[in-house]
């Protein structure tokens, strides 16, 4: 079952670009990453899902219901953590959380205490006096206190120290195991790689790829670097799938995509002194998509 279905969604802001013809689905129970450089349209999409802004054309449904028409109903089961958290300054943390809880028709007081303990958040401080990171924690507790079925996070980790990030990720994974679907927007590859099953890459308002993280990595070139004992024929590794071949004295390097056995056989037939095979990291994959095509 799909929790989120986005079909041909377009949002234009007059001259400025919003998002163009975006379509993808998020399945129940998955952690879906949504990644792209700043200004690519990540927040625009999230704000449409939350009906903070309205689409120019196309449609988005959550739990099978239209985001615009059934906004109120859908939001009962959504927890949202904005990239920048701002709350009523003159309130205490606990009062804000209680106010937040009052919108949901269930008793959340136990869960507030529980979450605050995990996130190491002082409930009796004034929001005004909190640091950026601590405000973020208020946002996290606020977003999770009603045990939402869909958690939407917009660049969630900015401002959290590494220890807190870790705790927060564990918390998210726990929620995910309990059945919550998570949509996470980020420009930090590490956290997407760490958490997500699938990822959509957005660039300049368009989705350029939706795939499993594992496929993204498989689907790519491997970097081979071979040191040979004695000089071999330059064209020895000129086989299908190998590119960027460079011979530098005794060191041969190239990129390879295809059946890995072929290349291993080739290597076994010559005398080598050293061998490096590198997995391209996500960074390289994404850079490949990020870089503007001219």
């Amino acid at each position: 079952m799909n929790v989120i279905e986005i079909k041909n969604l377009t949002k234009s802001y007059g001259k400025a670009r919003g998002i163009i013809d975006v379509s993808f689905d998020v399945e129940q129970g998955e952690i879906f990453g949504f990644i792209g450089p700043n200004g690519a349209g990540k927040s625009t999409l999230i704000r449409i899902l939350l009906s903070l802004i309205y689409p120019t054309s196309g449609s988005a449904t959550i739990f099978g219901k239209d985001c615009v028409k059934f906004g109120q109903e859908i939001k009962k089961e959504i927890g949202y953590l904005p990239s920048e958290v701002f709350y009523y300054d003159n309130m205490k943390v606990i009062d804000l959380l209680k106010y937040s809880a009052s919108f949901y028709k269930k008793d959340c007081s136990k869960r507030i205490v529980e979450l605050a303990e995990i996130m190491d958040l002082d409930l009796n401080k004034k929001i005004d006096d909190l640091s950026f990171g601590n405000k973020k924690k208020v946002g996290i507790v606020q977003g999770l206190l009603h045990e939402p079925k869909l958690i939407i996070l917009d660049e969630p980790t900015s401002g959290l120290d590494p220890l807190m990030q870790q705790k927060f990720f564990e918390l998210l994974e726990k929620e995910n195991k309990k059945g919550a679907t998570i949509l996470l927007s980020s420009h930090i590859l590490g956290e997407v790689q760490r958490l997500c099953n699938r990822v959509a890459i957005i660039k300049e308002g368009k989705i350029i790829k939706v795939d499993k993280i594992s496929t993204l990595q498989e689907d790519n070139h491997k970097k081979f670097k071979i040191e040979v004992k004695s000089k071999i024929d330059d064209s020895y590794f000129k086989i299908a799938g190998a590119t960027n071949l460079e011979v530098n004295g005794n060191i041969i390097s190239f990129l390879f995509k295809g059946n890995i056995n072929l290349i291993i056989k080739k290597i076994s037939e010559i005398e080598i002194t050293n061998l490096w095979i590198e997995e391209p990291d996500l960074e390289e994959i994404f850079m490949h998509y990020y870089v503007k095509e001219d």
Binding site: R47, K75, P82, E84, F86, S102
Partner: protein, 265 residues
């Protein structure tokens, strides 16, 4: 209900301050009446020295001012000015403060419709104004009965006082529609003070020149105190315009707010 209470709490301080200011003003004004009524002849002579347009602009007509109602209605202009600023502030801030404080993301991602948000906020603002007016009326009535030199019609006193509320309602609606139309209001005070004083000065202008058309534009002139004192009633045409204006402004605010894109700041 939760939003309504939250909003009321948020306006508690400002409501107390505005109510206190209004009370202080009316006490100050009315406490001057006993001295004034004794020396009305001296004052008449002094006023005679002013050119007529100035007297008109300030709303000074010495003959009517010797009675407590006349005196009260003269000072009332400044009380309405104060009340108008309060209402305009409230109206302008109810929607814009969420954008300015960047709390719109918090409120609008909760399971509530925007219509409900607007209603809660409007009702909270209205409650503040009602409380202000009740307290004001109680204090003003008590004060008037203390300083009176002869009996006066309480009905007319009440009718005059309650126009404070009517004027406030108009400025509240005006503020709300402005805050919905404007994409971002950085600061409420310049807008509310600017608008209120523009209308106030227009009102003075219309008194000075006797231009009837301006009366329809500025809320300060919708309730002509001398007409109320003479006829014990309001002018029907202005009541109708006021009601129509409020309905149109509030309905438009709802429609616009429901359709509005809430952008990140």
């Amino acid at each position: 209900m939760n939003m309504f209470l939250h909003e009321l709490k948020a306006y508690r301080k400002s409501t107390i301050i505005w109510t206190a200011s209004l009370i202080a003003l009316v006490i100050l004004f009315l406490s001057m009446y006993p001295t004034f009524s004794k020396e009305v002849e001296v004052f008449k002579k002094l006023m005679g020295g002013f050119p007529e347009p100035v007297r008109k602009a300030l709303g000074l007509s010495v003959d009517s001012m010797s009675s407590i109602l006349g005196f009260y209605s003269y000072t009332f202009l400044y009380l309405t000015l104060c009340g108008a600023i309060q209402a305009m502030n409230l109206g302008t801030s109810i929607i814009s403060k969420e954008v300015r404080g960047k709390t719109a993301d918090f409120l609008l991602t909760k399971p509530v419709t925007r219509t409900k948000i607007m209603t809660s906020k409007l009702l909270a603002a209205l409650t503040c104004l009602v409380i202000t007016n009740i307290v004001y009326l109680a204090v003003a009535s008590t004060m008037a009965s203390f300083v009176k030199t002869e009996d006066y019609s309480y009905k007319i006193f009440f009718m005059l006082s309650i126009t404070l509320f009517f004027v406030q309602l108009m400025f509240l609606s005006l503020g709300v529609i402005i805050s919905v139309v404007a994409s971002k209001i950085k600061s409420v005070l310049p807008i509310s003070l600017g608008t209120v004083f523009t209308f106030f000065i227009m009102g003075m202008f219309s008194s000075a020149t006797g231009d009837a058309a301006i009366r329809y534009i500025t809320p300060f002139k919708y309730f002509d105190t001398s007409y109320i004192m003479k006829n014990s009633s309001y002018e029907g045409a202005f009541i109708i315009i006021e009601v129509v204006f409020i309905i149109v402004a509030i309905t438009a605010s709802y429609l616009l707010y429901v359709k509005k894109d809430i952008h990140t700041v």
